[in-house]
């Protein structure tokens, strides 16, 4: 037998002690498995370093096998830890980052959402961004590139457009039926438009009642616009609010035609208190032909409810 292959003789006590320590280390790491994987501490590294130290005294395969067993376990734990790490990195917590930024700059109280910044806040906001810029700028070494417009596109031969000769240039305002700038308002504020229109029409109605006290106005004459069916329908819609809210009363006169009557102040309270029994509903149906017939029958030439614009 080759003397080099023979296992060296050594201190049996020492070997037993090494094996004992390895086993202790393995049990310890297994025990603390959950903590090692889930907390960001150095315990796995420390365990590895301890095993490293133990390995210095290892000369035989028996102890080396224990070391290998420990290494496999440590490698598994390391893999699990790194898997944890990856999932944290892919999730960017915006709110937490914002908090970090606020603490970094040293500004507090900007977290409350303001729909509109008032003047006092604007200084703090500017200070926030300026401080941040000073720090952040040192990390971005990229210089601004050259921005240009000429040369971005080919020049195309201009299409001979029908142009008016520039003779006498009178200061003629272009009769632009289109608005110059698209106003965003009109699309979103249907509710406001309704309220505004109802108020406006109520005003018109009340003016009429003031000018003709103790009389009522024919419903059709009031709501019908002889030039526009759509407008007539809108007027009916708005007047229905006026009636619902008790500012005017609709009833049938001696000819059984609907009329609008003013409601006096004390009467208004009464109507409101009359409760569910007092509530009546009516449905008006009006077709294009009906509208035309009404215009012809009542000989309505001008709308009572004038357009705002």
């Amino acid at each position: 037998l080759d003397p080099a292959l023979e296992e060296p003789e050594g201190d049996e006590e020492e070997y037993r002690s090494i094996r004992k320590q390895y086993r202790a280390l393995i049990y310890q790491v297994q025990d603390q498995r959950h903590d090692i994987v889930n907390t960001a501490n150095e315990s796995l590294t420390e365990a590895l370093e301890e095993a490293n130290g133990l390995f210095d005294g290892v000369t035989r395969t028996r102890e080396a096998a224990l070391d290998a067993q420990f290494l496999v376990m440590a490698a598994d734990l390391g893999k699990e830890k790194s898997r944890q790490l990856r999932s944290d990195v892919s999730l960017f917590n915006q709110a937490a980052f914002c908090d970090f930024l606020f603490t970094f700059v040293g500004v507090s109280g900007l977290e409350e959402k303001h729909d509109r910044l008032d003047d006092g806040d604007e200084g703090r906001v500017r200070y926030f961004w300026e401080t941040l810029q000073r720090k952040a700028a040192s990390w971005t070494l990229r210089a601004e590139t050259f921005h240009f417009m000429l040369g971005s596109f080919n020049s195309e031969p201009s299409v001979p457009r029908p142009r008016q000769r520039r003779r006498r240039v009178r200061s003629v305002e272009e009769k632009s039926a289109m608005p110059k700038k698209l106003k965003r308002m009109d699309l979103n504020n249907n509710q406001e438009t309704t309220e505004r229109e109802v108020e406006r029409i109520l005003g018109l109605l009340q003016t009429y009642f003031r000018m003709h006290p103790n009389s009522s106005v024919s419903y059709f004459e009031f709501v019908v616009d002889p030039h526009s069916f759509a407008r007539t329908v809108e007027n009916i819609f708005y007047v229905s609010f006026i009636i619902r809210d008790g500012y005017a009363r609709i009833s049938l006169d001696q000819d059984r035609l609907p009329v609008l009557q003013p409601v006096s102040n004390n009467q208004m309270g009464e109507e409101y208190d009359s409760g569910p029994s007092g509530m009546k509903q009516g449905i008006i149906s009006l077709s294009l032909q009906d509208w035309r017939n009404i215009v012809a029958t009542f000989q309505i030439s001008k709308p009572m409810i004038t357009k705002e614009y």
Binding site: H147, M149, F153, N154, E156, S158, V169
Partner: protein, 270 residues
Amino acid sequence: VPSSMQCGTRRMGVMTDVHRRFLQLLMTHGVLEEQAVKRLQKHCYKVHDCNATVEKLEDFINNINSVLESLCIEVKKGVTEDDGRPIYALVNLATTSVSKMASDFAENELDLFRKALELIIDSESGFASSTNILNLVDQLKGKKMRKKEAEQVLQKFVQNKWLIEKEGEFTLHSRAILEMEQYIRATYPDSVKMCNICHSLLIQGQSCETCGIRMHLPCVAKYFRSSSEPRCPHCNDCWPHEIPEIFNPEKEREAGTSSSNKKSLRSRQH
């Protein structure tokens, strides 16, 4: 820029870090008013070479331009059309295959700009309404653009100082005029308007109602400076418009602390 680049017969100047820093800062802003440019130059000297005497701005810029010549880029000096402020802008001079690729904007965005440009040139006032521009969005080349997107692209042009917006109407920023004057004169020779006084491109200005000649607002101010009865230089009819007030650097300096407020107001117009 390596100093070994060939550039033809003109003797090329030498750029130091002072010039390079200045150039990079001007590149970042795109266009700057003269006061700001002077401050910038002083700042660059302070950072890199605080003991040197500050070179005269004109020579400083000519030096830089001589180096940039081989790249077909130039620092051009101009004047704003509305109030006659002197400005400096870094502009591109040539259309090449590289310049077509290096644009900030997509094909449909550039076509939108071109359409807006045409409307502005054709208009009487030098302004094109946003509704008129947006109505052309369906005819754009490239990827289909929604009207809402087009509004944002127009705002991008305003932010990058290619267009100016006033009450829903758009006109060219002085930066765009400086860069694109030659292009505009070459591409739209029939519709382009010229100033009777300085003979350069006119977008905004005043015109004579009798003979139709036009003048820039600062040109009007300069021409009629000391006349009590302004008359058209071409047909001698009474000049019908109010003579505008234009930028006076002396007055700005006198105003002292309040000038910074005025400046921020004006720069918003630009």
